[in-house]
Symmetry: D2
Subunit: 329 residues, 4 copies
Amino acid sequence: MNTFGRLFRVSIFGESHNNSVGCLVDGIPAGIKLEAEDFYYDLQRRKSTGLGMTPRVENDEVIIESGTFNGYTTGAPILLRFLNQNIRSKDYSKLVDMPRPGHSDFVMNKKYKGFNDYRGGGATSGRLTLGIVAAGVIAKKILAKATFKTEITNLHGEEDKTKYENILKEAIKKGDSVGGILTITIRNIPVGLGEGYFDSLESTMSHLLFSVGGVKGVEFGTGFAGASMYGSEFNDLIIDEKGHTKTNHSGGINAGISNGNDIVVKVFVKPTSSISVPQQTYNFASKQVEELVIEGRHDTAIILRAQVVCEAMCAIALADAYLIDKALK
Amino acid sequence: MNTFGRLFRVSIFGESHNNSVGCLVDGIPAGIKLEAEDFYYDLQRRKSTGLGMTPRVENDEVIIESGTFNGYTTGAPILLRFLNQNIRSKDYSKLVDMPRPGHSDFVMNKKYKGFNDYRGGGATSGRLTLGIVAAGVIAKKILAKATFKTEITNLHGEEDKTKYENILKEAIKKGDSVGGILTITIRNIPVGLGEGYFDSLESTMSHLLFSVGGVKGVEFGTGFAGASMYGSEFNDLIIDEKGHTKTNHSGGINAGISNGNDIVVKVFVKPTSSISVPQQTYNFASKQVEELVIEGRHDTAIILRAQVVCEAMCAIALADAYLIDKALK
Amino acid sequence: MNTFGRLFRVSIFGESHNNSVGCLVDGIPAGIKLEAEDFYYDLQRRKSTGLGMTPRVENDEVIIESGTFNGYTTGAPILLRFLNQNIRSKDYSKLVDMPRPGHSDFVMNKKYKGFNDYRGGGATSGRLTLGIVAAGVIAKKILAKATFKTEITNLHGEEDKTKYENILKEAIKKGDSVGGILTITIRNIPVGLGEGYFDSLESTMSHLLFSVGGVKGVEFGTGFAGASMYGSEFNDLIIDEKGHTKTNHSGGINAGISNGNDIVVKVFVKPTSSISVPQQTYNFASKQVEELVIEGRHDTAIILRAQVVCEAMCAIALADAYLIDKALK
Amino acid sequence: MNTFGRLFRVSIFGESHNNSVGCLVDGIPAGIKLEAEDFYYDLQRRKSTGLGMTPRVENDEVIIESGTFNGYTTGAPILLRFLNQNIRSKDYSKLVDMPRPGHSDFVMNKKYKGFNDYRGGGATSGRLTLGIVAAGVIAKKILAKATFKTEITNLHGEEDKTKYENILKEAIKKGDSVGGILTITIRNIPVGLGEGYFDSLESTMSHLLFSVGGVKGVEFGTGFAGASMYGSEFNDLIIDEKGHTKTNHSGGINAGISNGNDIVVKVFVKPTSSISVPQQTYNFASKQVEELVIEGRHDTAIILRAQVVCEAMCAIALADAYLIDKALK
C-alpha cells in the first residue's frame, strides 16, 4: 500500500537501520532534465541545520539508480536511494516492552505481530521522508510553472516569527518539544486540476500530507476559522475572466478543482513525540505502568524539517492531477 | 477518477438533472444481510427535515440493481440507484455566464470546456451524496462491531448546542448561511488498521472527507489546538496492555495506524455557498462584475446534512482498511 | 475487482435475473458526441440473429443514466444500463446440487459460500457482455481514427468459411456445440502505445479478452505457429521510416508497444458449455456421479456472438493506453 | 505503469547499463522467512548455463535493501536489487539509426522521443527479468502449498525432448535462433481464486506473462487445439465433491476462477530476435533499407531462460488472488 498516484506514482521503501531508504517514481514524461544536483536544494532544506533540529548527521546524497540517461528522464521508472549510515544499532528491544508514547512502537508491534523492524522507528522512521522530498523534486519539474512557498505561521501557539527562537530555546531547556502550523502557498496552478469525486485536490493533497508522521490537521484557505463566518463573507467573489477572486477563503479550490487562485493549505504538525522529559508508559513485560526515559538527542520541533516534506507531498499530488488533466483534455 | 478504495471500492455517478444518481460498490464479502430497508435509517438522517435545511422534497428510495440475492450480498458488485425526480429544469444557462461564488460553476465550465451538465450543480450536486450514504451503510456492515457517533460541535463559532436554533433562525432571516465543525467518534476499531505510507487512516479518511462538497478542514484528535501544547502534554500515555491511553490527543491513530482508542475526527464544513443575499460576480457575457441574485430556497447550513455523509466516508475508508488488514494477517 | 483501466476505466455489474446489467465508464474526455443510437450497431452485432445462436429474445436497449448532456459526454462517469426482462426464474436450484460441466456453477458456489446468485449464470452470465460491448463503443470513439475488423477464421477446426454453415447445422442436429478462433485486426493505432512492464498492449488486451467467458487462448500475430520458425524468419524487417514491416509476425506490437503496423490478435473461444447432449456430473446431494440434462435452447457457437465482445475488449485496452500516452507525452 | 497487483504488488525498475535492476514488492504479510539464499535456486534456473544460452556472465546476487528483519518479512515493502556489472557500454548509438528487427529499438525511440536509454535494450532488457524471478520467489512463499512445474514442450516445432539438443546445435551453427512453447503446471491452488470480471485468473496470469519479452501466445488447458472439439468433448466432467474433473481441457479454471484441478498454462516464446544472420532494416540516417549485422553472442533460444520467468509471473498473479480471496472470505 506504499504507493500513491494514478499516473505520476510514488512508492516508498526502507527502514532507518536497514540498507537504504528511498522511493521509486513512475509515470514521468521522458526528456526532463534530471541530475543528482537537482535534488540538492530541497534535500538541504530537510537537513538538520539549526536550532530545534537534532544534530544527527545524516547521509542524504541521492543515488539515481535508474530511469535517467545523459542527464534526462527516459520515461522509465526512477529509483532513488539514500544509503543508511553504517551505524551500530543500539539496543532498541526495550521499546518492544515499553512503547514510547506518541510513537509507532505499539501499533507496529501489534499490526505486524512483532516482526516489524523496530530499530529507529523502522519503516515509520522520519528518514523515509528523504524519498518524499526527492520525489517532490521530480514532481515540481513536471509542474514547471508552479512555485511553492512554505513557512511556519504558528509555533507553539505563537504567530510572531521573531519570538520563535525563544520558544525553541525554552523547549530545549525543558527537554520538551513543540509543534505548530505551516502554511504552503502554491502559485501558477492552472484552472481545472482535480476531480469532484473522489480525487478532489484537497483529497489527494491531504491524503499525502496526512501520511507524513506528525501531521494531525489539514485545512485549505481560511480553514476552521471559517466556521464563524457567514456565507456572504466566506464566498470568494469572482472579479475577472481568469477567475481571480477578491478573497481566497477557499484556498484556490472549488468543488475539488483548482480555480486559478493561489492554493493555500495549512498543516498542523504535532510536537515531536521523542522528548527527554520522563514519561509514563505500559511495560508489557512487567505488566504495569512505568517511567520511560528516551535517551539521545531529538528534534525539538519536527515542524522545522517537515516544511519541505509537506511541500513535496503537495507537489506530488498536483503533478499527478496535472498529467491526468493533460490526458483527458 | 470517481472510484475510491483498494478492496472495498466505491464508484459514484450521476447528476441531479439526469436519470439517476448512486454508486457502484465492489469488494463486498458474500453473505452479508442487505436489503433496501437497511439503508433507511442513514438516508433518513441525510434528508431535509428541519430548521436550516432546504424544504426540497427528494426521492431517496434506494434501488438495489445488482449484487444481492435472497436478501444477502452475493460477492458481486452492488449497484445502488436513486431516481431523479422528473423535475423541469429551470433555466440554468445563466450560471454559465455568471458563475456563482463558492460554487463549481466556473471551474467545471473551464475543466470540461463547457460540456459539463451545469443544471443543478451537475456531477458536483449535493444529491450525489445519496450514493455516499448508501455505500457507507454497506461499509458499516463490514465493520460489524464498530459504532459511529456524529454531532455538530461548533455552529457559526458557537459550541453551545442550545444556541444553535437561534443561530439558524438569524441566518434564515438574513437570507445568509452558516458553517461549523462536526465531530465523528468511532468506537471498536481494532488495533492495526491503516498503513504508515501512504494509506494512513488519516490519509484515507481525509481523502474521502475532502471530496464532500463544503469540507475545507479535517483534523484528528486535538487537531490544530495541539499547536500550543508541549510534547509532554500532547503525547498520549499508554496505560494498559490493550494500548488504551490516558488522553486521546492523537484521535486514536499513531503513525497512521489505529491504536485501539476512539478514533476522533473533526471536519470543518463551510457555510452553504448558495445564499439569498445578492453577491457580486464576473459576467462572462458582459465582461464586467455584476450583481447576482440566486433564487430558490437553500440549505442554511449544509453541515446539518453533511453529518451522515462524512460519517459514511469514514466508514468507507475503514472498511477498506479492515479488509486489507484481514488479507495481510 | 470488477474494474479495469488506469484512466479509461470500465466497471461491470449485474446478473441475468436481477434488475439490470451494464457498466460504469469513467475517464472519458468531455465533448465526445454520444447518444443511445451510437450503441445500436455494435449491440446489434452481439444479438441473436442467425444460425447457431440461441433464439432467446433479449432487451438490449441501452439506457444512458449519467455522464452525457445535450448529446455529448460531460467528463463525468457514464452509467449504462440494460434492463433485464421480467422473466420468471425457472428452478435453477438443481444446479447447486449438480453443477454443469464447463460452467461457473461449482466454482461460484464454493467461492461465495453458496450466496451467489445462481440463476441463469448470475454474475458470470453472458448477458453481462452487453456492458462490455457498450463500453467498447465509447472506447472506439476515443480512438477516433482506429478501425476494427473481426472475423471467425476457424470454426470447429475448419478455416474455409463456406463450410461453416454445415458445421453449425451438424452440431445443432447433434445437440452439441462448437468452438473456434476469431481474428481481430486493428488499423491506425499510432506508434508508441503500451508499456514494457507490466502494461504491454498484449498484457492489457489479453487481460480483458480472457475475462470474456469461453476465451481460453490469445495469441498475437503469427502466434503459436511461430514456434516452428527461425528467428531469421520470424523477425519483421523494417522497411520505411514509419516503421512499416515486410511481414507482421509480431502482430503490430514489439516489446509491448504498438509499432504502427496492424495489430492482429487471435482468440480461441471454446465450444459453448451448455449442450443438449446428456452429460455426467457430480451430484452433491446424492454424493455420486449422475447424468445431467440441460434443458432449453443454447447458442451452438458462442464464438459468433463473442466477436463484437472481444473487439470491444481490445478497444477498451487501447483507449486506456491512448490516454496514458497522451498524458506522458 | 510498471506496477502490477492489487494487494501483492510488484514494481519493476532498471536498465541493463544503468546502476542496477530489480523490483519493489509490497503487500507481503509479516513473518515469512526470507533471506538472500531463498532466491538462489530460481535465480540459478534463470542463469546462462548451457547449450543455447548466451555465455554472458551476469551478476545475479540479490541484495535485500529493505523489508526484512532477522530473516523474516516485516510487512514493509521489500526492495530487491541486482547490481549491473561495471561494463563499458559499447557504441549502441548505431541502433538508433538502424533499429534491430523484432527488438524494441524502434518503438522505444518513438515512444520516448529519443530519450530512452538504448544501451543493451535499456528498460526492456532481459536483465529486468531478474526482478521478476525474485518477486516470484516471494509470491511462492505466500502460496505455501502450491507447487510449480515448468518444462519446454515444444522447441522449434518439435515435441520430442531428446531431439532438442540437435535443434539447438543446428541453430547455433546457422547463427539463427529458435522459439517454442513452455508448459507450466501448478498444483494445490485452492478452489475459488480469481474473479469473473475483470480479474479472471487467466486475465491476471496472461497479463503478466505477456509482459515478458518474447511471449506472443498464452493458452490455458487444451487451448487452441480445443477449436476442433465438440462441447461434449471439451467439457470437463466433475467426478467428486472436491470438484476434480475427468479431463482438464479448461486448465483448472472455470469462469476465471480456480476449480481445484491443476492449473495448466502454455506459453509461446518467439525465437530470440538477436541473431547473427545478417538482416535488412531501415536506416533512419541514410533513409534506405540496409543490411544490419548484430555482433556479439546471443541466446539461441530465450525460451530456455524464460521458463522460470514465466513461472514467476504465474506465482505473482496467484499470490495476489490468494490474498484477495483471504480478505473477502
